[in-house]
Amino acid sequence: MSGHHDDGHTHEQSVPEIRTKALESLLVEKGIISTDEIDEVARMYEQDIGPMNGAQVVAKAWTDPEYKKRLLEEGTSAIAELGFAGAQGAKIAVFENTPEVHNMVVCTLCSCYPWPVLGLPPTWYKSEAYRSRAVIEPRSVLKEFGTELDDDVEVRVWDSNSEVRYMILPERPAGTEGMSEEELVEIVTRDAMIGVTKVDVPTSAV
């Protein structure tokens, strides 16, 4: 995708759009960045890096007990085994949701998020509402996402304030025993790996 229109066709340009184009133009002309470098980086995070990466990690952990053990002990290296590493993933810790403990992730100060496994965060994760409420009323937030937990389930909220990034290993739903790793990849969702939802039992398996 290129940021440049060669045909002179104009649409109404917004203020941030104009400012971004002006900034990019100056940096390109000064030799600080190249145009295709910006094209490629934006494209990579739009197309290649996203929750489909994390879904592979989860499906492997669900089907390979040895891998799951490595993942929970040393997330970064177990994730790198599948080829996922890099920016915002210097240290990734993975926590498992169980019938007794429910983990969820927030960044109250900013928007820190494990890019190599989940890509860029959705707007709701960066919203004032989520950042302010997740630490003080996590159950109420979870309820908005349709996740209702009994009081005897402990809720653990991980605030990503250091360079450590967090990913949640959701519970494997009942009724998926016959599914292959490839099929399981398809049912894992981004929100379950942030820890605000559970993975649903696929209707085909019910």
Partner: protein
């Protein structure tokens, strides 16, 4: 700094807004400024600049408008661009979109950039001593109010938690004084705070917050009572 960005525990922002099938970038310029940021690193990063945005403006800006604002201010500060030349270029592009720079294509450079972004790197620094705390230790978060960038949110200050584990030795990210970033490394611990400790009677049942604490954020409750008795 005690800024608007430090939102943990605030009330009043309403329900969490959600969008089905959300695109990674809603506007093309968002992807451009995102990528420009990754390709032009600033010594102190983007966050201190974002936190300097006045509170009312911070709340009005969209997410990537904050990035754009912070990037521009940061690059001006380190002298890579000039405010006047940016303003002139904006006027030119507003008048004619074709006033943007001629594309510069450098596939080798783009390839290297992508590889670097996908390469595993380690935040760990060399230990320079023994960690002061260990798993199971009760710790108290110091009550400090630094005016520059800090990774210690207000909602844990003065509260007591329990060390869970040592993540390693990481670079200290706080600015002190503002604008200055130290290179020193410290042990960083995962510390658990009970909901009732942080939120009192309003806490929801059976809830805990885990947050990472650089060693200099923490005191042992013993040393607190000792210093009290000395005074």
């Amino acid at each position: 700094m005690n800024g608007i960005h430090d939102m943990g525990g605030m009330h009043g922002f309403g329900p969490v807004p959600r969008e089905e099938n959300e695109p990674v970038f809603h506007e093309e310029w968002e992807g451009r400024i995102y990528a420009i940021n990754l390709c032009t690193r600033m010594p102190a990063g983007l966050r201190p600049e974002i936190e300097e945005i006045p509170p009312a403006t911070y709340l009005r800006y969209s997410y990537y408008e904050k990035w754009l604002h912070a990037k521009v201010e940061g690059l001006i500060k380190i002298g890579l661009i000039d405010r006047g030349e940016l303003a002139l270029r904006e006027v030119a592009i507003a008048e004619s979109p074709s006033a943007v720079a001629k594309p510069v294509v450098d596939p080798e450079r783009a390839r290297e950039r992508i590889e670097r972004l996908k390469t595993l790197y380690l935040p760990d620094a060399e230990p320079t001593g023994e960690p002061r705390f260990h798993a199971g230790d009760e710790v108290c978060v110091r009550n400090i109010n630094p005016p520059g960038h800090t990774r210690m949110p207000r909602y844990v200050r003065g509260h007591t938690g329990t060390v869970q584990q040592l993540w390693g030795w990481h670079r200290f990210e706080d600015q002190d004084p503002p604008g200055v970033m130290t290179d020193q490394a410290e042990p960083v611990y995962s510390v658990r705070f009970e909901g009732s400790e942080l939120w009192g009677e309003q806490a929801e049942p059976n809830q805990a917050v885990y947050i990472d604490m650089w060693e200099s954020y923490l005191e042992s409750p013993d040393s607190l009572s000792n210093s009290d008795s000395e005074e």
